[in-house]
Every structure is written in C-alpha cells, then in structure tokens.
C-alpha cells in the first residue's frame, strides 16, 4: 500500500466571478521514501493540491470529489480533531514565502518546540528544547540563534528554521511548496542539497512543488506536470525529462537551457491560461499547443500510457 494515494481529486473555489475549478480529477500515488515533484506555472493548481492534502484550504475552497488516502485512511472524511492529530505529526508542510511563516513576536526556538509539545504532551519543555537543538544542528543553524526572533535571521536561515520546524515531529511526508523561490541561487543550492540529505537520513516522502522544472528534476524521482488544474503528464524523472510526451511538458523543457547558463523563472509560452470558471470542454492546452488535431478542442483528452509508470493526458500522444 502506498503512503499516499490520491484518487480523482477535484477542488474548486467560490469566487465573485463564479466557481473556479482549480484542480480537476487529479490522481497519483506516492510510496514511502519516494519523492514526487509537481511542476507548472502559477495558478495551475499545484499549491491547491498541497493545501488540500494538509486540510488547509481557505474558507471559500472545497473538495468537489475524490479521495485522499493517507496510510489507507481518507483524510477528507476525518473530523477536525483527527486531522489536527495527523497534521505535522505525520504530514508537514514547508510553505511558500518562508519569509513570513514564522510568528514575528515569538522566539524561533519556542515556535519549533511548540510543534513538538502539541503533539506529544508527555515531553517536558527542556526536553523539547533539546530536540530543537538537534534539529538546528541537522539543518545547520548555529545554536546561539535559538532564542532569537525571526527578523534577526537571514533569508536562508529562516528557510532552514522552517525546514527544521517541519521535521520537528519526524513526519512521514513533507510537502515543500516553492521552498527556495525567494532565495539567491547559492543559498538555494545549499538548501536543496540539505533537503535531499535529510530525506535520505529520515526516509521521508517528499512532495515538491515548484514552477522551476530544473529544481524538480534535481530533487525528485517522479515528476508530475500540471496545467490549468489538470495533471497532464506523470512519470519517473528520466522518462518525463528525456522523453516528454505532452506538448506542454515539451514546451517547458525547451524553454529551459541545459547544462550551464541562466535559469529562467518565467516560461514564455505564447497565449494565456484558460478561464477556470468555464473551462474548455476539450483539451485545456489546445489553443497554445504547437500542433493540435481537429478532435483536440472538442473531445476531452484521455490518459495514454507512454511507458510503464509514465502516462500523459493527450489525444495526440
């Protein structure tokens, strides 16, 4: 049994302009110790999936259909109490914009200790602080910064602290949402390296969310490409990277130079993302695709198996 099984998940938001279908029928599995990366442009729904996994959708968001099976149990059917118990203990999140993820008026060490104390009331305060010290050693923050406040930390240090906090309860799954976007390249490299080490050391499963396919390819054994709320391609890293099937994946990879050279943050593909309140009936990528067929815009695309474990949602593949 996989650690995480997501089955036909659809999520939407109630907005002034209507019901926005942010995630449409997404399914994937994640084994223990494995890593899966979601890549796509802003607004494609990858963050929404992450939030839904943690049960942290905003008040106007709702899951329309599907199941999220964590260790066999459907989290969507859990009570608030049960969810709160799993959160952080089994499943933790590293948020986008760690710059603001820490409470400015509390000491960093205390905030991390709080996570430990909430989930294990038998632990004493100083025992918890010892554990926090260990975590700091793990992620590479000097111990004398334990009693500092967040604003005294540099960007990289804050990110490390957030990672330490995510590991505090030794969860089985970590969802990392754009953890390095705000950092400069050198620090980013260090942090990514550290995350990889920690994953190996604790046998963690990671879901890595990013708009940068190079990072995802570097960090994860499996890649899921998202576009306009749908999972359009999914498979092992080598397969997706070396033989991309979906036109969007191809476009993503081709706008990115290999080996040396500058990373590009924005992927310039002509056209705009479709309106998710009234999405097109056919393929959502159709009007930006380089070579659509006649049936692409009228028929919803079906899953096609490219290779064992590698599938794409496309009519032409």
């Amino acid at each position: 049994m996989a650690l995480l099984e997501v089955d036909n998940l659809s999520i939407g938001y109630n907005t002034k302009k209507g019901y926005l279908k942010a995630v449409e029928k997404v399914s994937f599995d994640l084994e223990a110790g494995a890593s899966l990366g979601f890549v796509g442009e802003s607004g494609c729904g990858k963050t929404t999936i992450g939030m839904a996994l943690m049960g942290l959708l905003p008040p106007n968001g709702s899951v329309k259909e599907g199941r999220i099976l964590f260790e066999g149990k459907n989290t969507l059917e859990m009570t608030d109490e049960e969810l709160r118990k799993i959160r952080w203990r089994e499943m933790a999140m590293i948020f986008q914009a760690a710059m603001n993820a820490l409470n400015p008026v509390q000491r960093v060490g205390n905030q991390i200790a709080e996570a430990i104390l909430v989930h294990d009331p038998s632990v004493e305060k100083d025992q918890a602080m010892d554990q926090v010290e260990n975590l700091f050693r793990l992620v590479g923050i000097p111990l004398d910064r334990l009693r500092d406040y967040p604003h005294q930390y540099s960007g990289g240090m804050k990110q490390r602290a957030v990672i330490a906090m995510a590991l505090a309860c030794r969860p089985k799954l970590i969802i990392a949402d754009e953890p390095t976007t705000a950092l400069d390249v050198i620090v980013q490299d260090q942090i990514l390296g550290e995350i990889k080490e920690l994953q190996k050391e604790f046998d963690l499963s990671i879901i890595f969310i990013s708009h940068d396919i190079s990072i995802v390819a570097h960090m994860c054994d499996h890649i899921g490409v998202m576009y306009a709320g749908q999972l359009v391609e999914c498979g092992p890293r080598e397969g997706v990277f070396e033989s991309p099937a979906h036109p969007y994946t191809k476009a993503l990879l081709s706008s990115f130079p290999t080996v040396t050279g500058k990373r590009s943050d924005l992927i310039p593909i002509p056209g705009e993302t479709p309106n998710l309140v009234v999405p097109p009936h056919g393929c959502r990528f159709c009007d930006r695709c380089s070579g659509p067929e006649a049936s692409c815009s009228t028929e919803p695309p079906q899953w096609v198996e490219i290779a064992p474990g590698h599938r794409a949602l496309c009519c032409r593949c």
Binding site: Y13, T15, K16, K17, L20, T47, P58, N60
Partner: protein, 309 residues
C-alpha cells in the same frame, strides 16, 4: 456579480476624475454604513436650511432673542413650542435648527482651512525634502501632541472672549498636521514619477510644479480626510461652548448644553437636555460612517472581495 467596469469602457476620453468618481459611487452605493451616514447628513442639512424658517414665521421663534409673551421660563413641549422653551422662554426647536447651521458652518470651514493648510504644507515638505521637510514635520509632531481644546482655552484666557471665526481658525491651525503627513507621503511617491521630471526639465518653477502638477493628484485623498476633520472641529467647538468659552452671540448645540447645565435645569428638562446632545452625537456618527465608506472607496484592499486563488 460582474463588476461595473462597463461604464468606463464606453468613454475613453472621459476625464480620469469622472470615471474614478463613477466607480467610487457604485462601490459607495453598496456600503450600508455610507448610506446611513449620508442619509443622516442630509437630514441635518435640511435642519440647517430650515433654521431660517422659525424666525421668519414669528419673532418669538428667534433662537437668541425670541421671547414668547406668554412664557418666560423653562417649559415643556407644547403645540406652539414643539420642544419646549429654555430658561429665558426661547424656543428650543429653533435653537436646535440654528445649531445645525452652526455645526455645518464650523465643521466645514475648519475642515477646509485645515485641508488647505495641510495640503500646502504636506506638499511643500514632501517636495522640498531635507531641511524644510524635517522642520515642517517636527512642527507637525509638536502640534499633534497638543490637546486642541485646552490650547483654545488658554488662548481665550489671554485674548478674552473669542468669536466663532477665531475659534474656527485656531481649530484649523491645530488640525493640519494629520492631513499634512498623509499628503507628504503621497507627494514623496509622486515626486519620482516621470511627469514631474518632465516638468522640471521643461523649466517649471517649484511653485508651479507643486500647485499645478502635484496638487490635482493629491486632492482626492485630501477630500477623504475632510470628513474626519469636520467631526473633530464640530466636537471641539461644542466642547468649548459647553465649558462657556464659545462665542456668546452664536447658538450652537454646545451652547444649548451649557445653558441647560449651568442654569440647573439638567434634571428637570429632558426635552432640553436630550436633543442637542443627540444631535452632536448623531452628526459625529454620520460623518464617521461616511468617512469609513469613503475609506473603502479609496482603498481597494478594504473592500469585501472574495479570495481567489
């Protein structure tokens, strides 16, 4: 609900003020507080206008000098005097109406004066920068610390009884710092814009740049602040009159309260005690509500938008 941008898309040549006004108006219309505030204000404005009617009907209704031959002291409401009479036999209702007129006069004049001062000083400070800026802002800081009411009290000790316009002027002199701070901030950000650079290159003098280029962009914000300034001016004048330092020739609501208090009729004449106080409180409330609604119009972040993701 689709946004009302359609109105703007029809006329590209429309002056930016007009289209932003229309957009603001549609937002304002949806705001309950604003509507209540505006309704109340209109009611008070009507009261102020009606204040000319009673003396015109008969001299016994004059707020200051009106004397009813049959009544010479405080009495309750009756057919001839809907709110009764005060200790001198003057009609309370006509006093109340006159008070509305004074309130608007005081409030609006003081607000306009403090806006004029605050905008000029704020723009100058923001535009000139450095020494002048520091000097003006330090001055503003000091004035902001001062309790206006007590300063006016002290000044009336020195200069004797003040007349209403002097009071208005002094109130304005103590209210401009708040406005100037905000305007200064606006000016600072406007200063960097290309059109100011262009004006400088074209050889425009400082004066011209400030008043002809910067001012139009800064005024809408200034008008917002006017709503808040009005209430504090009205309250200050009312408090002064209440304490006995108002202009004895004007009948303001504060003055009415002073009379009911000092002549010892406080406990026996609710028809005299209640109306002026209710009026002062309601007019303050209505300007406040109006100000909050306008806040929402001018600052999009405050509007009740649903979150999209």
């Amino acid at each position: 609900m689709v946004s009302k941008q359609n109105e703007n898309s029809m006329g590209p040549e429309r002056h930016p003020w007009v289209s932003s006004f229309l957009e603001g108006w549609s937002i304002f219309r949806q705001n309950l507080l604003g509507k209540i505030g505006l309704t109340l204000l209109v009611m008070f404005a009507l009261m102020a206008l009606c204040s000319y009617i009673p003396p015109w009907i008969s001299p016994i209704y004059d707020p200051m000098t009106g004397v009813d031959p049959d009544i010479t002291s405080c009495s309750g409401p009756c057919l001839r005097h809907w709110l009764g009479t005060d200790f001198m036999g003057r009609d309370i209702l006509s006093q109340l109406l006159a008070g509305a007129r004074i309130a608007f006069m005081v409030g609006i004049s003081a607000a306009v004066m403090s806006i004029v001062l605050g905008v000029s000083i704020g723009m100058t400070a923001g535009y000139m920068g450095r020494f002048i800026d520091t000097l003006l802002m330090r001055l503003a800081d000091m004035i902001m610390v001062m309790p206006t009411l007590l300063v006016v009290l002290l000044l009336s000790a020195v200069f004797g009884q003040l007349n209403i316009w002097t009071i208005v002027l002094i109130i304005a002199l103590f209210r401009w710092p708040g406005v100037s701070r905000i305007i200064r901030g606006q000016t600072l950000s406007l200063k960097q814009r290309p059109f100011i650079e262009a004006a400088k290159v074209a050889g425009a003098s400082h004066f011209r740049i400030i008043f002809i280029h910067i001012m139009p962009n800064v005024l809408p914000l200034a008008f917002l602040f006017m709503t808040f300034r009005v209430t504090s001016a009205i309250i200050t004048e009312a408090a002064l009159a209440f304490l006995g330092f108002g202009d004895p020739g004007t009948v303001s609501w504060g003055m009415m309260l002073q009379w009911v208090w000092k002549t010892g009729h406080m406990f026996q004449a609710p028809y005299w005690l209640l109306p002026p106080g209710i009026c002062i409180s309601l007019i303050t409330l209505s300007f406040y509500m109006l100000g909050r609604a306008m806040d929402e119009v001018l600052d999009p972040r405050l509007r009740k938008e649903d979150q999209t993701d």
